[in-house]
C-alpha cells in the first residue's frame, strides 16, 4: 500500500527538489523501551522556501514542482524508520505580528493500538525561532519539549549527499488507556 520509494521525498518528481538534502531517521519505541515494529510513519512538510503544497497556503514563496512534502514508511523489526527529504523553510503564519513557524516536519504515527496514535512535529537543533513559537511552547514540560528537537548526527550524515538528523519517538504503552486496544 505504501510505495517503496515513499520514504524518499527527493525522488518524487521529474527532477530533484531545491534545498538542503537531509536524512531524518530514528527509532519508534514504546514507554517500556520496546521497538514498535512494522508500524506506519507518515510525514508532511513545507518545501525549502517555506511553502506547503496546499490550496490554502498563500505564503508568497515558490512551490517546487519536484517536491510534494509528503512521505510514508514503515518501521523495521527494530522500530527504525528513515526518510530522505529537504530541510523545510520557516514560514509566516499570521498568528501574531511577524509570526514565523520554526522549521519543522509533521509526523503521524499509529503504533500497535488505537491508544498509541500520535501526531507531532519534529524541530531542528539551534533554530532561533523555537523560543518564540507558541506551538512548540505549548508543551509544558521542558524535557518533553526538548524531545521534539532532532539531533544532528554524524553517523547518518552521508558524505557528499546529506546531513543526518535523529528523531526518536516514544509512543504510549498499549495498556495506557483502557478504552481501546
Amino acid at each position: 500500500m505504501v510505495p517503496a520509494k515513499a520514504f524518499d521525498l527527493t525522488r518524487q518528481g521529474q527532477g530533484e527538489p531545491l534545498g538542503e538534502r537531509i536524512v531524518v531517521s530514528g527509532r519508534v519505541l514504546d514507554q517500556d523501551g520496546q521497538a514498535v515494529r512494522e508500524s506506519l510513519v507518515e510525514i508532511w512538510q513545507a518545501n525549502s522556501a517555506g511553502r506547503y503544497l496546499h490550496k490554502m497556503d498563500q505564503h508568497d514563496a515558490p512551490l517546487d514542482p519536484n517536491f510534494t512534502g509528503v512521505g510514508q514508511t514503515f518501521t523495521d523489526e527494530e522500530g527504525r524508520y528513515r526518510f530522505i527529504t529537504i530541510r523545510p523553510g520557516a514560514y509566516p503564519w499570521r498568528n501574531h505580528q511577524n509570526a514565523w513557524r520554526p522549521q519543522h516536519i509533521h509526523f503521524s504515527l499509529f503504533g500497535p493500538a488505537f491508544a498509541t496514535r500520535l501526531v507531532t512535529q519534529m524541530y531542528f537543533p539551534g533554530d532561533p525561532l523555537l523560543e518564540f513559537d507558541p506551538i512548540f511552547n505549548s508543551v509544558a514540560d521542558d524535557q518533553a519539549k526538548k524531545s521534539l528537537i532532532s539531533k544532528f548526527d554524524w553517523a547518518t550524515t552521508t558524505p557528499e549527499i546529506a546531513l543526518g538528523f535523529l528523531f526518536d519517538i516514544i509512543l504510549c504503552g498499549r495498556n495506557a488507556t483502557p478504552m481501546e486496544r
Binding site: 503544497l53 496546499h54 507531532t120
Partner: protein
Amino acid sequence: MSVPTTPSQTVGPYFSIGFSWLDRSDLAEGATEGTRVTLWGRVLDGADQPVPDAVLEIWQADAQGRYAHPDDVGELATGSKFFGFGRVPVKDTGEFSFTTIKPGRVAGPDGRLQAPHLVVSVFMRGLLRRLVTRIYFPEDPANETDSALTLVPSHRRRTLIAQAGAGDKETLVWDVHLQGKEETVFFE
C-alpha cells in the same frame, strides 16, 4: 522502566496533504459479509457553524467483531481483504459521508461484549491532540449494556448514537459538535 512519551502537537492547517492518501469513502471495501450502511453528518463548532477542514479517522471491526490487526485474538476469514480503517475528510460545507458495514460485537477490556460501534478520531487545526469518540447504531439492544456507553450520562448518550435518516433507512445521521450544549462526548 517507563519513559515519558513524545508530546502531541497540532496537525496544523495543511495536514490534508499528508493524510489524504488514506481517504476512503467505503470503509468496508473487501468485506464479504455484513449489513451495509451509509453514514452522513457534519462537523460543527460551538456556534453550530460547519468546520470545513476536519478529518475523521474511522476504525472498525468486521461483521464478526474482528479487527484487521495482528493483535486481534480472533482471526479474519481466510483471504479477507477487510481493512476497517480509513480517513473521511469533511467538505467545505462541513459535511462528510462514507459507507461501511455494521461491525459485530467486540469484547471490551473487561471481557464483556461491547455494542457494535465505530471508533472515531477527529483531527483539525488548532487541536493540540485528536478528539476520540464513537458511533453506535440506533435501536441496538446491546447499547443498553455497553461498557463505554453506560459510563456516559444518559442525556448525552445520544451524541454517540447515529440516527436513522428521514426517509432513507440505510443512511444514518451522526454529527460532531465540537462545543456547546450538544457537545459530542469525547473520550480521554
